[in-house]
């Protein structure tokens, strides 16, 4: 399984194998990574799984769809060009090594 590195609020870094087809939010919360609320359970309805994507693998990401773009305008932490909602990123082999920095605040 391709791996992803999550950086929790506070700076702790956790490397996790993520199954293809799973969202980054699902993989992180299931593994007990801290900092993601995901109050809506992954239906792009709450903007509490905000993260910043980094590293070379980020170039392989599909850009956010309109729903995600509009939700990103409502995030609690600072919105940066590399802001994403982790429930909307579906794992694929080319994303191996992606660095996902979880936003310091979610709500």
């Amino acid at each position: 399984m391709p791996f992803v590195t999550f950086i929790e609020p506070g700076g702790n870094s956790v490397q996790i194998d993520v199954a293809t087809g799973w969202s980054l939010m699902q993989a992180a919360t299931t593994s007990g990574v801290n900092g993601i609320e995901a109050a809506c359970g992954g239906s792009c309805a709450c903007a509490t799984c905000h993260c910043y994507v980094e590293g070379p693998a980020a170039a392989h990401l599909y850009p956010p769809a309109d729903d995600e773009k509009s939700m990103l305008q409502t995030v609690a932490a600072r919105q940066n060009p590399n802001s994403r909602l982790s429930c909307q990123i579906v794992m694929s082999p080319e994303l191996e090594g992606l660095i996902v920095r979880i936003a310091e605040v979610q709500s």
């Binding site: 799973w22 699902q26 919360t29 299931t30 593994s31 007990g32 801290n34 609320e37 109050a39 809506c40 359970g41 239906s43 792009c44 309805a45 903007a47 729903d67 509009s70 939700m71 305008q73 409502t74």
Partner: protein, 404 residues
């Protein structure tokens, strides 16, 4: 408080457990659930899971390692039978006892049964648990005629999922419109048209009088006006009942739910409660029950704080959502007592909002396929900002600018 016992391993119970650790509690945490599964996501059970779009593994909220990592002891397939408040002990169904310094009641709710003979036949299901949804998903594969009793969120979501699989689907709703307890008539009408457009037969004012069966299996549903609807799969979605009996038997105040304050405290200082099982006493003395993801998480966080002696009131405006077909309905605020509704946007585009007013003040917003407008609505209601009805109706007015 050193040893914390949490009864109920749903979203509320898990939130209490993890919030305790996040707040720095270093004593024992035992999370107890009566189902064999650990905590899992319920919202997909009436949506993606029925369609096979959400895998069972994806419903699971935490892997076993996550509990170990956080020092949470998860016990499944076991329930509490009595609480000894004086001795601070809980008697369990396997004969064991759990001692506690602090106790969280997150006992959830159960399906309201259909009070008719035949409600226990094969082919008749409610939908609350993973096992319910598994059974429905399995029977959907071979069913031809699906009847849903109850035109609320659960019933309509299941109807949409069944229709997507090409079934003949009938929804029987007793009221004169869909989701009548929650939304305005224009939203009810929108959903009536949405379902009808997908070929669902929505029958309003339908008073179910009799279940018809053969060899212990449902075959049809009859209504008072003599109509008969063939059914080889019947879904009953007529609401839930809070599991408050354990608390009541222990002498904790209950009233259609375990009574808690804004900080999730019961009338026993060592006991908190969170989620579907609660009835919250508001400042004016009235009781409010919410059945939602937000309520489970917010009350769960408050309950954990309360166990650690901190007051963290749940102050956010209530919000909910429902996914049916390709329409996402997001609701914020409670519509009870509204006297005016302003439509924002054009319903024929399937992207619009309804803003509810009472005595000239904004009290709730329903947004369809407009997640950002929903988030703006939460900010407006959380901060008590009420746009004028002219502003609300004018899509050129950016409501978010009123908040910032």
């Amino acid at each position: 408080m050193s040893d914390i016992v949490i009864l109920g391993a749903g979203l509320a119970g898990l939130t209490v457990a993890e919030s305790l650790r996040a707040e720095g509690h270093d004593g024992a945490i035992t999370l107890v659930g009566d189902e064999l599964h650990g905590p899992y996501h319920r919202p997909p059970l009436s949506k993606g899971y029925l369609l096979g779009a959400t895998l069972e593994a994806q419903l699971n909220m935490r892997a076993a390692e996550a509990y170990a990592k956080k020092g949470i002891v998860l016990k499944t397939g076991i329930s509490a039978t009595a609480i000894d408040r004086a001795g601070k002990r809980v008697a369990m169904s396997d004969g064991s006892t759990l001692a506690y310094d602090g106790l969280a009641l997150c006992t959830g709710s159960r399906l309201r049964p259909l009070p008719l003979p035949g409600a226990d036949w094969q082919g008749v299901h409610g939908l609350r648990s993973l096992d319910d949804s598994r059974a429905i998903a399995a029977e959907l594969k071979t069913a031809d005629n699906v009847v849903v009793i109850g035109g609320g969120f659960i019933g309509l979501e299941v109807a949409a999922a069944a229709k997507k699989q090409g079934k003949r689907v009938t929804v029987l709703e007793a009221a004169d419109r869909l989701m009548a307890r929650v939304v305005a008539p224009l939203i009810s009408q929108f959903y009536f048209d949405l379902h009808a457009g997908h070929g669902v037969d929505v029958v309003l004012g339908a008073m179910v009088s009799e279940l018809v069966g053969r060899d212990g299996h449902i075959t049809a549903v009859r209504t008072k006006d003599g109509r008969e609807f063939p059914a080889d799969l019947l879904i009953v979605g007529i609401g839930i009942i809070p599991n408050a009996e354990l608390a009541q038997a222990a002498g904790i105040e209950t009233n259609g739910g375990i009574v808690v304050d804004a900080c999730s405290r019961t009338d026993d200082p060592a006991i908190v409660a969170a989620g579907d099982c609660t009835a919250r006493r508001l400042d004016d003395g009235t009781l409010r029950r919410l059945e939602s993801v937000q309520n489970a998480t917010e009350q769960g966080k408050s309950a954990a704080a309360a166990l650690l002696g901190k007051a963290r009131p749940f102050t956010a405006t209530p919000w909910f959502w429902s996914d049916q077909y390709d329409v996402k309905l997001q609701m914020v605020g409670l519509t009870a007592g509204f006297d005016q509704v302003v439509t924002r946007g054009d319903p024929t585009t399937r992207k619009f909002s309804a803003l509810y007013y009472r005595d000239g003040k904004l009290i709730a917003i329903d947004s369809l396929n407009q997640p950002a407008e929903h988030m703006t609505g939460r900010k407006l209601l959380d901060t008590g900002i009420s746009p004028t009805q002219q502003q609300a109706a004018d899509t050129a007015t950016n409501l978010n600018s009123l908040v910032a």
